[in-house]
Amino acid sequence: MSKAINLKSAVVSVLIFVVFVVGWHIATQPKATAAASGVSAEYAALMGGGAKPQSGMPTPAEVGKTFWERISDPFYDKGPNDKGIGIQLGFSLARVLTGFVLAVLVAIPLGFLIGMSPVMYRALNPYVQVLKPISPLAWMPLALYTIKDSSISAVFVIFICSLWPMLINTAHGVASVKRDWLNVAKTLEVNPLRTAMQVVLPAAAPTILTGMRISMGIAWLVIVAAEMLVGGTGIGYFVWNEWNNLSITNVIFAILMIGLVGMVLDMMFGVLQKLVTYRE
């Protein structure tokens, strides 16, 4: 049964891909020549279209070729404007991971505090509510002004955008740990630290992991925009640089890579989530 469904869905997926590529291919073919449209060849040549009328969009074959070339040599470095895709993605991932880890270090202890103490929950809630909806990029000028380093500012932006989902989920997970489990720990005279580590943490882990997964998703979205702003290195900068070079092929290639890396990151958190999820 499930095998049949798998096979069918795989066939449909491939079909969608083929239809898309064929459609793309047809749409990007050179237009019928000027003669057909009733304009004299001389006029067409004057207008600059005579030699080889071509669409600005690359064909699937061109993108495929670029894809292969760039993937097969990901780590070359020929100066600031020409680096391999692996290096650019590496810069972006390093920033995302740094900001994300810093956010974990702040959000999880703080989330525990908020989740365990109703007083802290009420005291911090207004700040969280105000800060949460701020677009992380809005912090950029402030970060640039105070930190005075564009790369660290990007990390700060990632930190800020990863913080809230993790903070809120941790607090929620900690606050909704079953009374019974806490009562067990109490009657066993388990000290608060051990209760936090061995009862509350595993009980709240699935919710915390969900927050981390959302945060990582947002961080990967934001890093592209942040790097377009700060420039220099990274996949966001690469996209913007190739746009300035009017190389749509490379832009499309970069878009695909962003999607693939984002998917892998999400899958990694999916695996982690599975590890800590328990059945009741």
């Binding site: 067990v184 061995q198 009980a203």
Partner: protein
């Protein structure tokens, strides 16, 4: 006066008034005692505060007034001296059977070596008949097996006293019977002192040496304390052959059905909450001459017999 193992004096629970209302007294002036090695059940309708009394004993709740003294010391907050078996078994679902019990054992004896902890846990897993399921997660166990883990966990810390809040309430009748037998066996072996809440009259007669009857709340009281005069080596298969059995059972059912509601009006003149009367219905003749005990209406009894069959 004789020293009791556990003594409860003047226990009361009052919830502060809701806006515009009166404060709610759940129970008031509760006094009773439990001796070492005794198995005590408490019976009463929902809302009479049984669970609150148990939680106070466990240290998970605070009484509004009154004291609880166990083994010469006042009960304040939870302690490893009192093991609790929760109705909802309260196992940590991310830990295996073995790890759940180890968690308790490590809390009791933090200095123990790994092997000692393991051997100790295994002993109690074997005791409740879960050998072979050590590495299963609670989700893979049936309701009865989960409760066995809860029992093993409570016994494993060797508490001075065991508190059980309707431990078998969620189990089917067959499983309940089997686990009751096992509990009885373990308690007899370990001379465990037990305080247990139940709704099941038969369970109370099978397990308890003493049954505390509570009137309906609010302002619930202990109406009387019924001594189970059946011999201690009770067996579910032939317990009903003893003529005392139905006398005790009828007394308890009658209390739950009628007297628990009307106790305020029908209380005997010499009733004193400080010293609730000790009664032995198993030893009284079926037709007592002294009608102060408010003998149940005759018409009631056949119906109750039907329930037993």
């Amino acid at each position: 006066m004789q020293e009791h193992f556990l003594k409860i004096e003047g226990l009361a629970k009052v919830f502060p008034a809701a806006r515009g209302g009166k404060p709610l007294t759940v129970f008031d002036n509760i006094n009773f005692s439990i001796e070492k090695g005794e198995f005590v059940c408490i019976i009463g309708h929902s809302g009479c505060g049984k669970s609150t009394i148990l939680n106070v004993l466990a240290g998970l709740d605070e009484a509004s007034s009154g004291v609880v003294v166990m083994d010469g010391r006042e009960v304040k907050g939870p302690s490893l001296d009192r093991g609790v078996i929760f109705q909802s078994h309260a196992l940590m679902p991310w830990l295996s059977v073995k790890k759940n019990i180890e968690f308790a054992v490590k809390s009791r004896w933090p200095d123990w070596k790994r092997d000692a902890v393991r051997a100790h846990c295994q002993k109690y897993i074997d005791l409740v008949g879960l050998t072979g399921s050590e590495n299963k997660k609670p989700a893979e166990l049936s309701g009865g097996m989960k409760q066995r883990v809860g029992i093993a966990r409570a016994f494993a810390i060797q508490p001075k006293m065991l508190l059980m809040d309707e431990p078998f309430g969620a189990l089917d009748a067959l499983t309940r019977g089997v686990i009751q037998d096992e509990l009885l066996k373990i308690c007899a072996e370990t001379h465990q002192t037990v305080f247990m809440i139940t709704h099941d009259v038969d369970e109370a007669i099978l397990l308890a040496d003493k049954v505390i009857l509570m009137t309906n709340g609010p302002e619930a009281k202990i109406a009387e304390i019924v001594m189970n005069t059946l011999p201690r080596n009770r067996d579910r298969h032939d317990i009903h052959k003893n003529p005392q059995y139905y006398r005790i059972r009828n007394h308890l059912v009658d209390f739950l059905v009628t007297r628990s509601k009307q106790f305020a009006e029908t209380a005997p003149a010499d009733y004193d909450t400080q010293h609730p009367p000790l009664v032995k219905p198993g030893l009284t003749e079926p037709l007592p001459t002294d009608s102060q005990e408010a003998e149940p209406p005759r018409g009631m009894k056949p119906a109750l017999h039907l329930v037993n069959e």
